[in-house]
Symmetry: D2
Subunit: 275 residues, 4 copies
């Protein structure tokens, strides 16, 4: 029976090795597609691998589930992709681990709907020098993700991930609000309404609204398939550590501050074309 | 009294020279901000300057008003900017004239609202490989432009300009519709509703809508000011003919097929930084 | 072979009688659910039954298809429901025929979506004394009805039916526009966007928008079933001529000028409860 | 200095009498237009006037500010209108007081925007037998009311008032959500987005959205003026206690469960016509 974080990691490592052996695989890619974890206070041992290993050896509740899986994956030298806003491999100690074992990892939080649109519209407002006064976004969804996000602690992780985009795109921080609410009748559908209030020439105030009506899984699935192929390619090319070229796939990309979709995508295309 | 196109051009040239002299100017920038002209059948003499001059010399109705002004401006070596979907300086014969006199010119049709949004959203759908099935856009506006566009012949010029964007952005032609209707109560406001129907993974169909609520003049004015400064800079840098670096300002840019806003804007920034 | 309107009516009467006999029916209800007919210039013989019969006897193209079926149905004493904006039984001569044969009939144009919403929102604006300045409605649909309405002559019939509502609800005529466009990718779906510009206290201008996302057939089918039962009940109650109590079902009701949905529905409930 | 609820009531009564004397008025109408109070736990003494008076005599914090003003007004026999979702004169003890002194009072919470639209659309869905699955409403506003409602305790009062409408209109309780958020840049404007998910024939699922873009004060002011005139008329007609005929003005009307706007308005018109 698993009672400590250390034992949990060992159990997952065992399962991963077993999976590779049974399927005759030289390399495995692990993708986190679980519902968003509850937000939690950072632990002092998250910063350095040495401290983290010491804390794990002492026992106790040090890492959230997503980071336990990330640790196990990276320790085996396998690739890890965090498609959620959960902690995953984002901790400095885990980044250190990946470099050491030569594992590739990336994340986090798949950019499939409202934030995807935001990432091109935000750039439009910046390039046209139309000052965004407020950007109010409201998401309603009916699937299991929506049910989990209805819990304020889980919602906090998601909103943090969705809300850090605009200041980076605009160069200043407008009034923003990101709401997420669970509406069971919607089932697999996720509907977002965004209202953007902006100021143009001579202080004239105007607005724009959009409604996005998407099916979460249909939008996520092809991104997940591409990510698996891309991190595998990165592994074969001998890369190690954070795979930053995948930024266009994520709301909160690792290894770069670039949030403009076109620039992210061009960087990916350039990486792919390279050899 | 002006009775032929030739005499009209001479009269405008005289006015432009007179304006320059009275204000002690070495160079003048002319911007076409008139309401959209009626669409008309191309004239055989529009293709080559030699033919155009011969036709003008014979007399008759050969050029629309916008092109008469463009001819006069370019003939004086002055800069011409076409902020409307009217013909302006777009005719091959006038491009030839500009090269000959060393005049700078650009256009056409200021990209201020619905098409501006389209130019970034269209690229988003292309880059995410979400297939656009149909894109229905409806504009309502209450100003003089709206009144003029209510005439089917004038509307045809505008719709052609607004509707050629998507195939270039997407690489295929979805079902499209661009409606423009005059709603006097709206005054200076221009409201656009766009409905985009698209197909994702496994043929799943989803949709997006947006409403743009803008004040036409407040959106156009700063673009016009920047265009004047940019074509003047191009003139001082010794450029001649079509000024293609201004593509991001226009729905139907001259001298380039690039319709992606970010690429257009990067090209402009590169041109500005150059020396 | 049928060559005149008179022969066409005789052929339909024969088919109706034959249908009744084969199915052992004492009464038949005919519902017009065909796509909207092209609009046509009224014929002088439409006003009085005597003139119509004389014209039919002389031969020639006097009635549109919908009216031929209505004539045949009413002549047999059967009930006729016009669920389309086509002419149907609306002609004074056919109303006269229904009274003579004791047939019940009603229409026209099922109120299933945009106009349904309009009929309650329009009343809201009237009761709150908020002055509607303009009401712009745009419908897009992808089914066979949409394909037929793409023809300007057919569209004219539909728009007339949809656009006569607001002046009756409001007591004055605001600027209005009703657009209908065919967007094949939408299939069975019909999407309407309405923008309402209105004026409140001290001339303050505000607006409201709605989008209706409905499936035409799912909205129409239960209305058709109820109409069949209601006109049959009216027939059994011994009513004859226009059945005005069905006004709530139609965009352009027969036998009443009442356009307010609640009042229409209350009138129907009162009629049902009667006896 | 005022230290108890009893003294506060006495002070307001003194001010009201003084105001009447200075302006030579025989009757005064008090309207509560303050921002929404924080929600609070009901006090046992709110049910009967005898208990309330005893509790007030003993001292202590028994009534919220809105009820102190209501008590003072009704005790003087003056009319009281509660245009907010605060407690006001809604307490059974205060209703008893009004009957005793012959004062007229009504409320509560002016129906000016989103809920106004809800009250006619909800009835539409009920009458057409389209089953509402979920109704999600989100309000954003920038004025002082928005600032106060940003406090969860104050927001709770408002949401309770806005959210009790649909079950009464529909006869069943769909999934509902009413959000209110403060977006300072909007100033006096209040924007509501509502998404309605409904089920039609054979379980077919469809949806409707609306956006309301109103100026709160311009919508409220004429209602307040009419209410003052109506309660004054009720007073002159010798009515006493709750003035239920004003239901159409309120989100949470007193003295009636009727929530359908047309029925409310017809009741008011009938009351006015009566003599």
């Amino acid at each position: 029976m698993v009672t400590t974080d250390f034992e949990a990691i060992e159990a997952v490592r065992h399962d991963l090795r077993d999976f590779a052996t049974r399927n005759d695989l030289s390399h495995v890619v692990v993708v986190n597609l679980a519902s968003t974890e509850a937000s939690r206070v950072p632990h002092a041992a998250w910063q350095r691998l040495e401290d983290l290993d010491a804390a794990l050896a002492r026992g106790g509740d040090i890492l959230p589930a997503s980071a336990l899986y990330a640790y196990a994956t990276l320790a085996e030298g396998f690739a890890y992709v965090n498609f959620t806003p959960s902690v995953g491999s984002r901790l400095p100690a885990l980044c250190e681990l990946a470099i050491r074992t030569g594992a590739v990892h990336t994340g986090s939080d798949g950019k499939t709907g409202e934030t995807l649109v935001k990432s091109v519209l935000g750039e439009l407002f910046a390039r046209r020098n139309l000052r965004v006064l407020s950007w109010f976004g409201q998401n309603i969804l009916g699937n299991e993700d929506g049910r989990v996000l209805n819990d304020p602690l889980h919602k906090a992780s998601k909103i943090r991930s969705k809300d850090q985009l605009l200041p980076k795109l605009l160069g200043y921080a407008p009034e923003t609000h990101v709401g997420i609410d669970y509406v069971p009748s919607l089932g697999e559908w996720k509907i977002a309404w965004d209202h953007i209030h902006f100021e143009g020439f001579l202080g004239g105030r105007m607005s724009m609204q959009f409604t996005w009506n998407g099916c979460d899984s249909l939008l996520a699935a092809p991104l997940v398939l591409d990510l698996v192929r891309l991190v595998e390619l990165a592994h074969r090319r001998g890369e190690r550590g954070v795979f930053a070229a995948a930024a266009s796939f994520f709301k909160d990309p690792m290894g770069t501050d670039e949030q403009r979709l076109v620039a992210q995508d061009e960087a990916l295309l350039a990486w792919i074309a390279r050899r």
